[in-house]
Symmetry: C2
Subunit: 172 residues, 2 copies
């Protein structure tokens, strides 16, 4: 799929069929994620791909931000052993790295006809326990996904002129 | 450009020609950024595109993370008036939104032959003052860019098997 088409057409999808997504395709999404930039090439992320039905139900039960049963959940974690090397900004940089990898994953999924939605509203400690994360592997966000059940509508966006400035902020 | 090609080939570029980038093209980058997802469609970001040579030099002087004179700098800010509506998580969600918008911008730039690099190492308060940001418009990251002077090498990346798990974390 053409890049700009993917960027402009991708929507958050919150309703999926129960069709499973092949591991081969899911690996392709992580492959896209790992090529997002990281601070000093730190690669502080870890990706846990959940497609076990029982685990998905359990993850949903501790995630107010998940509204349906997806076909898969990708939990992106930061690795504090790595992020602490970046000093006081380490935690913020880790969040940025996770988010940029997530955006690549959303786009790559859309290009494969897979719908996704980013979820931050989940109980991070419980999710870490559920997926056996050791100390230092910190769940930062979830990407829930699957083949779309219905096509979402396009959200209203502010106009470019409202949010873009040249050279300095000014009253609009 | 094809999406996966853009994702896999994009590199952080840190050396640029002094050729200016048209406002039309820069607007296209912001257009890509504003279609990244935001929490509850909050659209908490503001994009300040700097291509005034004097301002670029001044921004560089307060940014240890900028190593050369780029053709432009996009300063992405969060708007605290909006982010505080998202409660305790507002600041984290804003960082994530800014980062996901940034990733779209990096990809869209690459597709146009423009090199970019994300910079978090800059003095945020000074940058806000320099670009006349009012209280509540908080600079979160810079994207520096321009037409590449030389092609960067490919950084070493961890293998997929080292960073991807299925259903639970485990010792590798």
């Amino acid at each position: 799929m053409e890049l700009l088409k993917a960027i402009l057409e991708r929507r958050s999808v919150r309703s999926y069929t129960q069709e499973k997504v092949d591991h081969f395709i899911l690996d392709g999404l992580i492959e896209a994620g790992r090529w997002a930039p990281t601070a000093s090439n730190s690669q502080s992320w870890v990706f846990i791909v959940v497609d076990d039905s029982d685990l998905i139900v359990k993850l949903k039960s501790i995630s107010p931000g998940i509204f349906c049963i997806p076909a898969f959940i990708i939990m992106i974690c930061s690795n504090s052993e790595i992020t602490t090397r970046n000093g006081a900004q380490g935690e913020i940089l880790a969040l940025m790295e996770v988010s940029m990898a997530a955006q690549n994953i959303l786009l790559a999924a859309h290009a494969q006809g897979i719908g996704t939605c980013v979820v931050r509203s989940f109980h991070q400690k419980s999710a870490a326990m559920l997926l056996c994360c050791p100390k230092g592997i910190l769940p930062e966000l979830l990407i829930v996904g699957g083949y779309p059940d219905k096509k979402p509508s396009t959200p209203l966006r502010k106009k470019l002129d409202e949010i873009r400035y040249f050279n300095r902020w000014e009253i609009k």
